[in-house]
């Protein structure tokens, strides 16, 4: 089964394990919910037939995780030692991470980013038109996954 449709840079950073863990978590959420339409959407996200980004507009997902987003985070204050430790850790990540640190390489993903943004827009519009309790008979024909 295909992996979730996420940012190409994030997929590159996280690698296969990250995608498998995310897929398993989304499937777990689908199994746990009593809302069949939401469960259907979560499985489509897990299988990459709709982008992960569509969840940001999903009322059921926002309701489920409302508490997690209800408190505006405060930027932590770091003393000089903490800031230095943070800098060292970031440098380690920069050297060993799979993230593209060259802006031109990072920018090379932009067409895919825009295409997924358009898929997200179309799918969210279909959801709004059909109603969020609508359960599709088959995966959305407009979603291509990655």
């Amino acid at each position: 089964m295909p992996n979730p449709d996420i940012s190409p840079i994030l997929a590159q950073i996280g690698g296969d394990d990250y995608l498998k863990t995310l897929k398993a978590r989304l499937t777990e959420l689908a199994d746990q919910t009593d809302d069949p339409a939401y469960a259907s959407r979560l499985r489509e996200v897990a299988n990459g037939t709709r982008p992960l980004r569509t969840l940001a507009m999903d009322p059921a997902w926002n309701k489920q995780f409302k508490a997690a987003m209800s408190v505006t985070p405060v930027v932590p204050e770091l003393d000089p030692d903490q800031r230095a430790a943070f800098g060292r850790r970031v440098e380690e990540l920069r050297q060993h991470s799979r993230v593209p640190t060259n802006p031109e390489e990072a920018g090379s993903f932009v067409r895919e980013v825009l295409q997924r943004a358009e898929r997200t827009r179309q799918i969210n519009r279909q959801d709004e038109l059909a109603g969020w309790d609508h359960i599709p008979d088959e995966p959305s024909s407009n979603a291509t996954g990655s």
């Binding site: 863990t21 992960l52 969840l55 920069r94 920018g107 825009l114």
Partner: protein, 306 residues
């Protein structure tokens, strides 16, 4: 821009002045029965005594382009960044909803950027980006093409002056007046031809600035796109915005390492693009504040006064 306008204005004065001088020369010949008695050197003075420029002489080789008027070389300028895809890029910075960023997404990204790069300030990163690099970059690219065409125009103008002068001297081959006119047109040809390098450099600077802004916008957009997905994935995994940000400090004691690495490295990509953009764009762009820095580095070649 005032320098360019001045150059164009001076060019026009030169051409008008030259036309008047030729007209006066013709009238003086018409009034005299003895060509040798006509004094013309006062009509065709040395435009630039500081340089020695080869005069145009009878029988000199013509350009062979047969250009009647140099303005036929001018076309409507086209922007290399006018593709609809580019248009979306420009709008991204003032339209973060395109990333499906809801309020909380915008908040968390603002907080993370503030944490990683506090020098940017405590405001909204999207408003800041819009102010810093938003703008009509496709119009900058359009200007670049216009500059290139102006350079071609001056080359054409130089050739027209040369070719027309050679035709003129076919029937005006001797005398002090002809020599003065030959030297005058030689300097005129050289002065116009010299403008091409100025406009070529302007074209390069403006084009480079527009592309630098485009690459920076593309990189920032891709990094933001990854950050948003990382946050959605983390929250779906049971984390909160508070633990997500707090875990940046302790590096993953509360979150899976992959999530932390993803968020931090994405922000680092953002930070790298940001630093690159500040270095690459702000350093060369600013005619008001941006392109001025670039254009002041260009040595404009003054045209002689008519």
């Amino acid at each position: 821009m005032s320098t360019i306008q001045s150059a164009l204005s001076t060019s026009k004065k030169l051409l008008v002045g030259t036309s008047d001088s030729l007209d006066s020369a013709a009238k003086r010949y018409d009034k005299s029965d003895d060509d040798s008695a006509v004094t013309l050197t006062d009509l065709f003075r040395d435009l630039d005594p500081t340089v020695s420029t080869p005069a145009i002489t009878p029988g000199a080789e013509k350009s062979g382009n047969g250009l009647a008027v140099p303005s036929t070389l001018l076309k409507d300028p086209e922007s290399a960044l006018s593709d609809p895809t580019f248009d979306i890029i420009w709008k991204i910075l003032s339209w973060p909803d395109y990333l499906s960023l809801s309020f909380w997404g915008r908040q968390i990204i603002n907080r993370i950027v503030q944490f990683i790069a506090p020098e940017i300030g405590g405001g909204d990163i999207f408003e800041y980006l819009s102010q810093q690099i938003g703008g009509d970059w496709d119009k900058i690219a359009l200007s670049a093409d216009a500059f290139e065409q102006l350079g071609k125009y001056y080359v054409g103008l130089s050739e027209c002056v040369s070719d027309t002068s050679i035709d003129l001297f076919a029937g005006w081959q001797s005398g002090a007046g002809a020599e003065a006119a030959g030297a005058f047109f030689g300097e005129l040809r050289s002065a116009f031809a010299g403008q091409e390098s100025v406009f070529s450099e302007l074209n390069t600077k403006y084009t480079d600035a527009a592309w630098a802004a485009y690459h920076a916008c593309s990189a920032l957009l891709s990094a933001l796109d990854a950050a948003v997905d990382a946050i959605i994935a983390a929250i779906s995994g049971g984390e909160t915005l508070v633990t997500l940000l707090a875990s940046l400090v302790d590096f993953g004691t509360t979150l899976p390492a992959a999530v932390i690495e993803a968020v931090v490295t994405v922000v680092e990509a953002f930070s790298a693009a940001w630093g690159w953009m500040m270095f690459g764009v702000s350093g060369i762009v600013s005619a008001g504040a941006l392109l001025g820095a670039a254009t002041t580095e260009i040595e404009f070649i003054p045209l002689p006064e008519a």
